[in-house]
């Protein structure tokens, strides 16, 4: 069995007095593709943000052999933990090329950066076509592609994706998920947060179901897709 790349123990996130995440534990192994599904407000985004250290939290987060729950985010990115934030979080007024360059902010290996840029342009050809365009004028799907591309520019080991399908037309969602599939096939470890449970479960091997701040079900995607509770609550059947 592969060792866990990220392991979370009793993670809690509070906003003021309100608990958004109430002690969740889960793990993602190297090379795995895992999703965290659940309704709006279940605490999925808070969990992901806490992993990337963008939110203060309690509990333990282990990344590889290190404990990272007190590490600032700018030290995590060079170690290969990248978050594609919800709502894409691109720099709307910078060009596509500037956005991608920002993803390699912590790197100084010029040749490596150029090679990665080429690779990402190959993976996401739209970004090459629109290199000089201001990111805010891209379509929603292209912005999501850009957000993923920017994260990949940091050469991550673990990609945290927050609601990549949000607000996108179905055709675009398919394209975005195709990109995620390709990236994962190249060996990237992916933790995907999605409201679109069906899509997420079809893409990932395993999933966790989150409800009001806690993980209620954890199983393989096949089982989850067959689980009557999951079908009733998240697949609209």
């Amino acid at each position: 069995m592969a060792r866990a790349l990220i392991e979370v123990l009793n993670l809690e996130v509070h906003y003021g007095g309100i608990a958004a995440v109430k002690g969740v534990s889960f793990a993602v192994e190297e090379g795995e593709m895992v999703c965290l599904i659940g309704a709006n407000g279940a605490g999925k985004t808070s969990t992901l943000k806490a992993l990337a250290r963008l939110l203060p939290s309690r509990g333990e987060v282990h990344y590889g052999a290190e404990r990272i729950d007190a590490t600032p985010p700018h030290e995590l990115i060079p170690r290969g933990l990248a978050l594609v934030p919800e709502g894409r979080g691109i720099f709307a007024r910078l060009t596509v090329a500037e956005n991608l360059a920002m993803g390699a902010y912590h790197r100084s290996d010029k040749a490596g950066i150029a090679a990665d840029l080429k690779r990402i342009h190959g993976l996401l050809p739209r970004l090459r076509e629109r290199s000089a365009q201001v990111a805010g004028t891209l379509s929603g799907g292209e912005q999501q592609m850009l957000a993923i591309g920017r994260a990949l520019m940091g050469r991550p080991k673990l990609l945290l994706l927050d609601e990549p399908s949000m607000g996108l037309a179905p055709l675009m969602v398919e394209k975005v998920f195709e990109v995620i599939r390709t990236v994962a096939a190249e060996g990237m470890t992916v933790l995907l947060v999605e409201q679109n449970a069906k899509l997420a479960l079809e893409l990932c091997a395993r999933g966790y179901v989150m409800e009001s701040g806690a993980i209620t079900v954890a199983d393989t995607s096949t089982n989850l897709l067959a689980d009557p509770r999951v079908r009733a609550a998240y697949l609209g059947e």
């Binding site: 978050l83 910078l94 902010y105």
Partner: protein, 347 residues
Amino acid sequence: MGWSVKHKLGLVAVAVALIALPFVLAMAGTAWVRITNFAVLFILLSLGLNIVVGFAGLLDLGYVAFFAVGAYVYALLASPHFGLHLPFWVILPIGALVAGLAGAVLGAPTLRLRGDYLAIVTLGFGEIVRIFMNNLSAPLNITNGPKGINLIDPFRIGDFSFATTAGALSGPIKYYYFLLIVLLAVIVINRRLQDSRIGRAWVAIREDEVAAKAAGIDTRNIKLLAFAMGASFGGIAGGMFAAIQGFVSPESFILNESIMILAMVVLGGMGNIWGVIAGALLLSFMPELLRYTVEPAQKALFGRMLVDPEVLRMLIFGFALVLTMRFRPAGLWPETRHRRELDADRK
């Protein structure tokens, strides 16, 4: 560098013009050289504030506080007040350092604030500094309170004093050249900063702080650095101000000055060094030009004074500001990205 002959000739022409300028101005009166010197000081202040507001996008309404810190550091270390008379090349770096520290002190508690909230805190900070200067006269007399500090040493290198006239070189002309050199240095530093990793990190923070964090930028330190660097430019300008004036008092560092410097940055074009310089020049010279034209113009038109020139001056000044912001909302000479934002808003 691949500069064309045309470029080089242009550069030489500008240099000659800048060197000859004070002598031309002196023909119209030494007052105009002084006005120019103050304009250069305001350019320095605007460039400093531009780092905070233009590059990093942190709205600072208390910037004059760092100008005050620099001025008081110079005044205290080179005047009979404490009987200290350190040379300026020692004091100016100290002033920059102390002002930079003050900038970090202001930055640290405001790291989580943005926009209007940050503006209010910085406004308060500016007032706190001024009130301290006003009241640090008892029980231990540090700043001499509202009376200010007088008889501040001018710049001196050996026997060469910047305050006295030597032939055609009057005091203000000597300071002009000194200010010009400092200004050139500050422009070069600013250009370098803008193109550096730090500059890119500032832009990222300005555009989207969460995304900047997600891109691996240490937003805390980078923001503190913006405050400290901007403040240290203000500190240097303050030191030179104290020496040129020979006198400092808390009155020179009121909120109005902070707003004026901010107006220069915004009017000129936030984030663009040349725009900011243009804004500072315009807002420094316009009131003075109006001072000398409003009165004769009225007399010529109506045969007598109808409106007090001081009132009319500020009226025209304000009106010009409103017009500029109406027709060039991103400033006279905006940075490309700010223009993009406004264009996007219009669509």
